[in-house]
Amino acid sequence: MAAKQDELIKSTMARTPVTLYGRELAANQRIPLNLDWVEEVRVNTSAVERRAATLGARRSVKKEWQAAWLLRAITCMDLTTLSGDDSAERVRRLCAKARRPLQDHIVKALGIEELHLAGRKGLTCGAVCVYHAFVETAVKALEGSGIPVAAVSAGFPAGLSPLAERVEEIRRSVEAGASEIDIVITRAHVFNGEWNALYDEVAAFKEACGPAHMKSILGTGDLSTLRNVARASWVAMMAGTDFIKTSTGKEAVNATLPVSLVMIRALRDYAERTGMAVGFKPAGGIKTAKQALDWMATMKDELGRSWLEPTLFRYGASSMLGDIERQLEHFATGRYSAAYRHPIA
C-alpha cells in the first residue's frame, strides 16, 4: 500500500523542470523562519484590486486555444465534495467523474483520445478531495487511475481542535491512502502576529504528511486583509508547505482574484529569494469556465508556464466542471449546450 502510494506521489509530481524567468527551481523545503520577510510585506489593497479587475479583460483565449485551456483546467481541478451529507456512494460517483470527466463523444470530437498526464490513463481531473472519513473509499474507487486522493485535514474547516489531534488526523489520512493533505491554519495566529506559532504548526503538519503533498489553506476570507494573506503565505512557505491554498470553501468570501494575486506575488518573491517553487490552489467560488481561464491567464502572466501544471496549480471546485463540459461541447458541436446533457458527479 505504502509503496504504491509513494509511486503515485512520484508519478503525480514527475514533471519537466520548474522554472521562473528561466531559473530552475527546486521543490519547497522548510527553511528557518525569517521574520524580516514577513514584516517587509507591503500590499496596497486598492492597487491590487485594480489589477485584479482588469486581469479578465486583458486576456482572451478563443477557439482551439480555449478548448485546450479548458482541458488544462480539468487536469488541474481537485474535484471536491466536502459536505455534511457526503456518503460513500456520493464519493464513488465523484471518483467516477474524475476518472472520466468528459463524455466520449466530446473527447472524440476534440481528438484528444491520447491526451493524458504522466501516469494517468486518458484525461482525468487533477485529484479528488474529500473528508478523512472517505479517503479509503476514494482510494479504492480511483485504484489504477493514477488520480491522487486529497484529504482535508487538521481540524478542517476551523482548525481549532487540539494540535495533537490535528497532527494525528493527518497521519491517519496518509495511512488511509491520501497522497495529498489540505490542512487549515489557525487563523488567530495571523491576527495576533504569532508567526513562530504559525510556523511551528505548519511545520508540524508537514512533518506529519511524510511523503504526502501538503496544501496549506490560509482561510483568506477569515484573514480579511490582503496584508494578512501575504504574511500568512510567507510563513506557510518557509514552514515547508508544497502549496498555498486560499480558502476552505466554508468562509463568507472564498477565492477571489485580488487574494489570489497577493498569494501568487508572495510565492513568486519566495521563489526568487529561495530558488524553491510553491504551488497555488484557489478554492471556493470558482464556478465558470470563464473564471477558470482568468485564473490560468493570471498564473501564466504572473508566474509562467510551469504554474499551469497540476504539480503547481489546482482549482478547488465542484461545479466548475459542468460549465467546462458545456463549453467544450459547444466547441465540438457548434451548438450551445445544456447542463443536463452532461453526467453529474
Binding site: Y21, N44, A47, R59, E64, W65, A67, L71, E302, R305
Partner: protein, 806 residues
C-alpha cells in the same frame, strides 16, 4: 483538430483573439470611405483638398478626409455664432437632455466607436473598449448634469451654481490624436453644457471617431451649428486660432504648438486653455508595494503605447530598492503582449504614425548614447506595422536628454534618489508639471510629497485614473486651465460684466513719463525734509539699480515727488526676493488672514496721511473713498484667505480626489493708472491672500504712493519678499516680468497694448496670463473688482487622487 488541441494543451499559448471589425468596415464603406466636414448641421462634399487617414497597425488607408481651409473654418465659425443665441436661450434642462442623449448614444454604439478608434489610432481594443469609450459616455453624463444644474442664464449669469458667470461664447477646440474621442468629449461636453457653441478640429491622424460622433449628434437632433467638426492639419488649426469670431480657444497638444497659439492670440481677448506635454514623475519609495508599483508603470508608461501626456515616464526610485524594482519591471515587460490592436489579448498596439515612431527611436538612441542602459523584452513584433517594444532606460542622469524631453512613446527612464527631499527635487526638476504618481504605504510620506510636487494631477499609489468629476490639467509648461469637475466648467464661463459693453470700454492710454530730467523751468518745490521713495524689494527699501529717479506730478501738474526708475535688474532682484519668500504659501491661511487684517488696521491708522498723498493725484473726495474701499477690500481678502477652499471630488471608485487650491507661485502685476491705490491693492491682495508672492509695478504716474504703502506693509508683519514694489516704466518692466522664466503668472490690468505685450512675452515658460484685455474695470464696484474671478486666477487646482482600503 486533434493534434492541434493536444499541441496547444502543451504549449498553453494564448492564440489570436481578434475583435470583429466587419461592422465598422461596413460603416466606412457606407460612407464610401470619404468624409467631409460637419458644418451647420450638414456634411460638406470632399473635394481635391483632402488627406488619407490610415490604420497604423497595417498601413491600410481607412478613408479620405476633407481638409478645411480658412473659408471652411469661417463658415463653421459663422454657423456656431448663428447657433449661439438659440442654444443659450434653451433652459439648462433642455441642454441637459441633448447631452444625456449623446451619452446614451455613445453607450449604444460603444463597440463601433471602440473598434473605429482602434483602427484609426492603433491603440489596443481593450483600452478603447474598456477605458476610452466608457469615459466618453461618463463625460457626457456628468456634463448633462452640469447643464441641468446651471439652469437658465440670466442677468447674473448662471445664478444657481456660477453666479456672475455666463457662457464664454463660440469656442474653437483643437485636440490631439492620442485619445481622439475622449479628448473630443473632454472639450465638447463642458462647452455645450455651459451654453457655448463649438468648432472643433480633430487631429489629422485620427479624425474618424469625431466624425462618427458628429453623425450621432446629427441623429439625436442637436441643433445645427451648435457642434461643427472641421478636419485638417496644423493649418486648419491656425485658421481656427486666428479667426476673429472665436471667443475662446481650448487646445490639447504639444507645448511647442501651445506657445504658437499663445502668441497668435496675444493681441486678442480670446480666452485660452492649454493642456500640453509632460514628463511626469513616478516616485517609488522603499516602503511601496513594489508589485503594484510595477503594474502602475504598466498602466502609466505602457498604456496607449506611452502616447499619453500624463504618462509616468520618469521613474524615480529610492536607491535601496532600485535593483529589486528594476528586476520586477524587466520580468513584467517580458509578459507584455505586443501586436494587432484588434486582438483582445494585446497590451501594446501600434504607434500612431511613422513620424512619431522615428522620433521615439531617435530619442532612445540618444538616451543610450548619453549613457543609459537599455532594456527591451525578448518579445516578437509583428512583421509589419508601427510597433515599438516597451523600453526601460536605467542609469539615466537628470541632465540626459531622455530625462528632460517628452518622448511620447513606451519608453521609461529611471533614476534613483536617497531621501524624500531629493525625490521632490528630482520630481520638480522639469519644465513640465502635468501629473505625478507617488508610491508609498506611508500616508504621511505620500501626502507630503503630493503637496510639494508641482503637478496638476497627483495619483497616490495609482496612475492614470481619470474621471469627469475631477479636474485635469497642468502646472508650468504643461499648460493652464482644467478639464473636468467644477473647475473645468469655469473654462467655458466668464464674468457677466465682462460681456457688458458699458464696462468693456477700453482703458484710456496715458503717455508714459518722460526721461528723468527735470524741466529747467520748473519752480523749486518745497518737500519739507526731503523724502526719498525707493524700490521695495525683499522687505527692504532699495535704491534703483539705474541710479535714476523720475518726477511724479500731481493732477494739477505740480511736482509732488520723485520715484525710483526701475530697470531689469530691479525686477531680477525682486523676483529673487519673491521666490525666496515662497514659505508664505505654507503659512497657514489663518496666519495670512491675520497679516491682511493687520494691513487694514494700519491703513486705518495712517488714513489721514495716505488720503493727503492720494489726494494730490485724485482729489480729496476720491482719495477718501479709495482709502476706505481699500480698507474694506483688505478685509474682504483677509476673510477669503481661509475660505476659498478646495473640494473633494467623488470619482466612481473607492477613493477620494482632493481638489486643492494652491497658490500659483510668484506673480508679476502691472497695476492700473485709474485708481492708484485701490487698483493696485485689488490685485496684490487676492494674490497674497492665496499664498502667492508678488512683484507689482504700480502706476508710474503715482508711484510715489508706494512710500506710504510699504510703510504699511512693514508695520503689518508682512514677511519680506511677499510683496515687492518696483516703480518705473510699466511697458519696460512689464516685458521683463512677462519674459521672466521664474515667474509663474503675469497679471496686466492696464491698456490693451499691455495685455497683448505680456501675452506674447509670456511664451518662454508659458506663464499664466490674467488680464483685463484693456477693458476698463470699475475698481470701486466690488462686483467687478473683487472676489472669485481674482481668487480663481490667484490659485491653481491640484487634484490629488487617494484610493483607500485595507
Amino acid at each position: 483538430m486533434s493534434s492541434s488541441i493536444v499541441e496547444k494543451f502543451q504549449s498553453m499559448e494564448y492564440g489570436p483573439a481578434p475583435e470583429d471589425a466587419s461592422e465598422v468596415t461596413k460603416w466606412l464603406d457606407a460612407h464610401k470611405r470619404s468624409f467631409g466636414h460637419y458644418i451647420d448641421g450638414e456634411w460638406t462634399a470632399v473635394g481635391k483638398n483632402a488627406f488619407d487617414t490610415k490604420n497604423p497597425a497595417t498601413g491600410e488607408v481607412l478613408a479620405k478626409v476633407a481638409s478645411a481651409d480658412a473659408n471652411d473654418v469661417d463658415r463653421a465659425v459663422k454657423a456656431a455664432r448663428a447657433a449661439l443665441p438659440g442654444w443659450q436661450a434653451l433652459s439648462g434642462h433642455q441642454r441637459a437632455r441633448y447631452l444625456y442623449a449623446l451619452a446614451r448614444q455613445v453607450q449604444k454604439h460603444a463597440r463601433r466607436l471602440a473598434v473605429l478608434e482602434t483602427l484609426d489610432n492603433g491603440k489596443s481594443i481593450r483600452e478603447s473598449r474598456d477605458i476610452d469609450i466608457p469615459l466618453v459616455a461618463r463625460h457626457f453624463y456628468h456634463h448633462a448634469g452640469w447643464a441641468q444644474l446651471l439652469g437658465d442664464c440670466g442677468a447674473n449669469g448662471f445664478e444657481a451654481e456660477f453666479p456672475g458667470y455666463a457662457p464664454v461664447g463660440v469656442v474653437g477646440q483643437i485636440i490631439p490624436w492620442n485619445f481622439p474621442l475622449l479628448m473630443f468629449a473632454w472639450k465638447v461636453a463642458p462647452a455645450l453644457a455651459a451654453g457655448c457653441t463649438v468648432v472643433i478640429k480633430p487631429a489629422e491622424y485620427t479624425p474618424l471617431t469625431a466624425l462618427a460622433f458628429a453623425e450621432i449628434a446629427h441623429e439625436i437632433g442637436l441643433p445645427k451649428g451648435v457642434l461643427n467638426v472641421v478636419n485638417g492639419d496644423g493649418r486648419t488649426g491656425a485658421a481656427i486660432v486666428e479667426h476673429p469670431g472665436i471667443d475662446k480657444i481650448a487646445f490639447t497638444g504639444s507645448t511647442e504648438v501651445g506657445r504658437i497659439i499663445r502668441k497668435a492670440t496675444a493681441k486678442t481677448s480670446k480666452q485660452l486653455s492649454l493642456e500640453l506635454g509632460g514628463k511626469s514623475p513616478f516616485v517609488v519609495f522603499d516602503d511601496a508595494d513594489l508589485d503594484s508599483a510595477v503594474e502602475g508603470l504598466v498602466d502609466g508608461i505602457w498604456f496607449n503605447q506611452g502616447q499619453v501626456c500624463c504618462a509616468g515616464s520618469r521613474l524615480l526610485v529610492q536607491e535601496r530598492i532600485a535593483e529589486r524594482l528594476y528586476e520586477k519591471i524587466r520580468a513584467r515587460m517580458e509578459t507584455l503582449r505586443i501586436g494587432s490592436p484588434l486582438d483582445k489579448a494585446i497590451d501594446i498596439g501600434a504607434i500612431v504614425d511613422q513620424v512619431q515612431y522615428d522620433r521615439i527611436q531617435s530619442l532612445v538612441a540618444t538616451g543610450i548614447a548619453e549613457g543609459a542602459t537599455c532594456y527591451q523584452p525578448s518579445v516578437d513584433l509583428p512583421a509589419h506595422g508601427l510597433f515599438f517594444k516597451p523600453t526601460l532606460l536605467t542609469g539615466v542622469a537628470p541632465s540626459a536628454t531622455v530625462a528632460q524631453e517628452e518622448i511620447f512613446g513606451p519608453v521609461l527612464v529611471a533614476m534613483t534618489f536617497r531621501t524624500p527631499a531629493e525625490a521632490i527635487e528630482l520630481a520638480n526638476n522639469t519644465t513640465y508639471g502635468l501629473a505625478a504618481s507617488i508610491w508609498s504605504e506611508n500616508i504621511n510620506v505620500a501626502l507630503d510629497v503630493a503637496a510639494q510636487v508641482k503637478a496638476g494631477v497627483v495619483w497616490v499609489n495609482a496612475t492614470n485614473l481619470f474621471d469627469a468629476s475631477c479636474g485635469f490639467g497642468g502646472y508650468r509648461e504643461s499648460g493652464y486651465g482644467r478639464e473636468g469637475g467644477k473647475e473645468g466648467m469655469y473654462e467655458y464661463l466668464e464674468p457677466t460684466w465682462l460681456q457688458d459693453e458699458l464696462h468693456s470700454a477700453p482703458v484710456t492710454t496715458l503717455p508714459e513719463p518722460e526721461a528723468p530730467i527735470g524741466d529747467p523751468t520748473d519752480a523749486p518745490v518745497d518737500f519739507g525734509i526731503d523724502r526719498t521713495v525707493k524700490q521695495y524689494i525683499g522687505g527692504k527699501q532699495a535704491r534703483p539699480d539705474s541710479g535714476y529717479s523720475y518726477p511724479v506730478y500731481g493732477r494739477d501738474g505740480r511736482l509732488v515727488g520723485e520715484a525710483p526708475l526701475g530697470n531689469r535688474k530691479d525686477i531680477r532682484n525682486a523676483v529673487e526676493a519673491a521666490r525666496a519668500a515662497g514659505k508664505w504659501a505654507k503659512t497657514s491661511a489663518h496666519g495670512r488672514a491675520q497679516v491682511l487684517y493687520f494691513i487694514a488696521e494700519n491703513l486705518v491708522q495712517r488714513r489721514a496721511e495716505i488720503i493727503a498723498k492720494l489726494a494730490e493725484f485724485v482729489g480729496p473726495e476720491q482719495a477718501a473713498i479709495e482709502l476706505d474701499d481699500s480698507i474694506e477690500r483688505t478685509f474682504t481678502y483677509a476673510a477669503w484667505a481661509d475660505k476659498f477652499e478646495g473640494t473633494v471630488h467623488n470619482p466612481p471608485a473607492r477613493m477620494v480626489t482632493l481638489a486643492m487650491k494652491e497658490a500659483i507661485g510668484t506673480i508679476g502685476i502691472l497695476a492700473p493708472d485709474e485708481a492708484p491705490l485701490l487698483g493696485l491693492l485689488s490685485l496684490v491682495l487676492p494674490a497674497i491672500a492665496m499664498g502667492n508672492t508678488v512683484i507689482a509695478v504700480p502706476s508710474e504716474r503715482t508711484a510715489t504712493l508706494m512710500g506710504e504703502l510699504y510703510q504699511v506693509f512693514d508695520t503689518s508683519d508682512l514677511p519680506g519678499g511677499v510683496v515687492n514694489l518696483v516703480a518705473g516704466k510699466a511697458s519696460e518692466l512689464g516685458k521683463t516680468l512677462a519674459e521672466h522664466d521664474d515667474i509663474d503668472a503675469i497679471w496686466s490690468f492696464r491698456d490693451a497694448a499691455a495685455a497683448a505685450m505680456v501675452k506674447a512675452a509670456s511664451i518662454g515658460n508659458l506663464k499664466q496670463v490674467f488680464s483685463n484685455d484693456g477693458r476698463a474695470i470699475d475698481w470701486f464696484d466690488p462686483a467687478q473688482a473683487q472676489g472669485r474671478w481674482f481668487l480663481h486666477h490667484a490659485t491653481q487646482v491640484k487634484n490629488i487622487w487617494v484610493p483607500y482600503g485595507e
